[in-house]
């Protein structure tokens, strides 16, 4: 017979009232460190410049050169 008791069922979605399960202490410390610090930037101006040059401008030049080659 198949056991259909709650203990054998798949975990249900947590209810809004129930507290979140505690995170591993190491992970909690890492997240807290990010939350305390100022938001880290993603790309700076030079990053955007190189991205636009290598990912947009040069491909356009290559496409034009390749089409007329």
């Amino acid at each position: 017979m198949t056991d259909r008791s709650p203990s054998s069922a798949l975990p249900l979605a947590p209810s809004p009232a129930a507290p979140a399960a505690p995170l591993p202490p190491e992970l909690e410390a890492r997240i807290a460190a990010f939350e305390r610090a100022a938001p880290a930037p993603d790309f700076d101006k030079s990053g955007w410049f190189w991205m636009m040059l290598l990912g947009v401008a040069i491909p356009v030049v290559l496409l034009i050169a390749g089409w007329w080659a």
């Binding site: 979605a13 591993p24 997240i31 993603d42 790309f43 030079s46 496409l63 390749g66």
Partner: protein, 464 residues
């Protein structure tokens, strides 16, 4: 390296600033070694079916750079800001449970690619042994492929016991193969230049624009499949400024450059595999060098792939507390099993399978880009990435964001409508737009519109 740092780079947890020690040079080496593998020949051969050497090289180069910038814009910002992998970076869009969709795509893509490369690795090693006179040609030598597959998996497992350091260590040793590859290209181009210019692509369409766009599309598609790998590598760098040039020059540029080997070989010698044509061009000594190159190239890429896949699996709660050794075994086992039991069948069916998987990465990039830059304007809740609870921002509905799933499906359908990756049947707009770019744009648009409803429902943690 401290135990804490070692633990961090073997987990999917965010890496702190002091743990992200890879500078631009180290990242470039690792990315270049990861990018340069046998798939470059296959990509080059595919382009060589439709375009000549110069046109094909330029179309492929443009496509690779465009695809790479999409991947960088999609996964790059969140991965590098918080030191997390590509799968974790998809949680703000797909939800605290819906991220299993990108995780499944990552697992299938990386395991598939790695199986292919590891079988290539074993076959190349057998051929190298035959060329060196260690083995006799014949069925008995071919039977060594499964054994060598297991040996390769064991070496990769041993290297990766050291986490990301193992990937970097392997890259430092194997990066020389990139230059060997460029030397092979020089050899073919310098000796067969007139034939190369005169060669006609065998499957070219009468529509020149269609051929040209297909060259670009193959380049975009090739680099879009870096999405699963990129996060695990760039999370080791300290900031966004450090990653742009290494990614664009170390990961995107080697692919079209080394694909030229396959492109030139397929056009002139009707074979994209340098282990075959280098023997024709330069004799047994060159064949040994090329076989060494193939062996090293696939080994480096597979190491990085297994690492990225293992980190991706860490996002599953049941695997978070497992040892790194267990996780590596879970990741390597499917690769080893494919290499041992069904290597030939896998080779025969792999192209179709991969074409279907590749369709999903363009929409995934479109979704991530519009979510981060337009909807969230760069605001990410790092706690919500790791806590699966209704009170957290990325819980949406039962942990799933329907807008992301619908957008992903819309993007995939758009891709197939523009270009069927199996039959290569295309719509009239395809020659002007490619298939990946409309798929990314369609997914981005559907996600944006769907997110307006999500925002109205007060879900997703979007800024006011």
């Amino acid at each position: 390296m401290t135990r804490g740092m070692a633990q961090a780079d073997e987990s999917a947890w965010p890496l702190l600033a002091q743990e992200r020690t890879w500078g631009a040079a180290r990242l470039t080496l690792t990315l270049a070694t990861t990018a340069a593998a046998t798939w470059c020949y296959l990509i080059g051969e595919s382009v060589g079916s439709y375009l000549g050497f110069i046109k094909g090289g330029l179309a492929l180069g443009a496509g690779c750079m465009i695809g790479m910038v999409l991947v960088l814009l999609a996964a790059g910002p969140v991965c590098v800001r918080f030191g997390i992998d590509s799968v974790a970076s998809s949680k703000p869009q797909f939800g605290s449970r819906g991220w299993v969709v990108p995780a499944a795509l990552q697992a299938v893509s990386i395991i598939g690619w790695n199986s292919l490369l590891i079988i290539f690795f074993a076959k190349s090693a057998v051929q190298l042994s035959i060329a060196l006179g260690v083995l006799e040609p014949g069925a008995r030598s071919a039977a060594l492929v499964p054994l060598l597959t297991v040996c390769a998996c064991a070496i990769i497992f041993t290297a990766l016991r050291r986490g990301a350091t193992g990937v970097s260590m392997v890259s430092n040793i194997l990066v020389a193969h990139v230059f060997v590859g460029l030397w092979m290209l020089y050899l073919l181009v310098s000796r067969r230049w007139p034939e190369l210019l005169a060669a006609r692509p065998p499957s070219a369409s009468p529509d020149h624009l269609w051929n040209y766009t297909t060259g670009v599309e193959l380049g975009i598609g090739a680099t879009l499949s870096w999405w699963p790998y990129i996060g695990a590598m760039i999370r080791m760098a300290p900031n966004g400024r450090t990653i742009v040039l290494p990614v664009m020059l170390g990961m995107a540029a080697p692919v079209p450059l080394l694909s030229l080997i396959g492109l030139a070989g397929s056009l002139v010698l009707k074979s994209s595999d340098p282990t075959e044509w280098l023997r024709t061009v330069g004799g047994p000594a060159y064949a040994i060098i090329s076989l060494t190159f193939v062996t090293a190239a696939n080994f480096g890429t597979t190491t990085a792939g297994i690492y990225a896949s293992a980190i991706g699996l860490r996002n599953f709660t049941v695997l978070q507390q497992r040892s790194w050794t267990t996780l590596l075994l879970i990741t390597i086992a499917p690769v080893a099993l494919v290499g041992i039991f069904i290597p030939e069948l896998f080779f025969a069916k792999f192209g179709n399978f991969l074409a279907l998987i590749g369709v999903a990465f363009a929409p995934l990039c479109g979704i991530q880009i519009v979510d981060y830059f337009v909807l969230r304007r760069g605001r990410i809740d790092i706690r919500a990435i790791y806590v699966d609870h209704p009170q957290q921002a990325y819980y949406y509905w039962r942990g799933i964001n329907p807008a992301a799933l619908i957008a992903l499906a819309a993007g995939c359908v758009t891709y197939v409508v523009f270009l069927n990756p199996l039959s290569y049947r295309s719509t009239t707009l395809y020659p002007y737009l490619t298939a990946s770019l409309p798929a990314a744009a369609a997914a981005a648009l559907v996600y944006f519109l769907g997110s307006l409803l999500v925002i109205r429902a007060g879900r997703g943690g979007y800024p006011a």
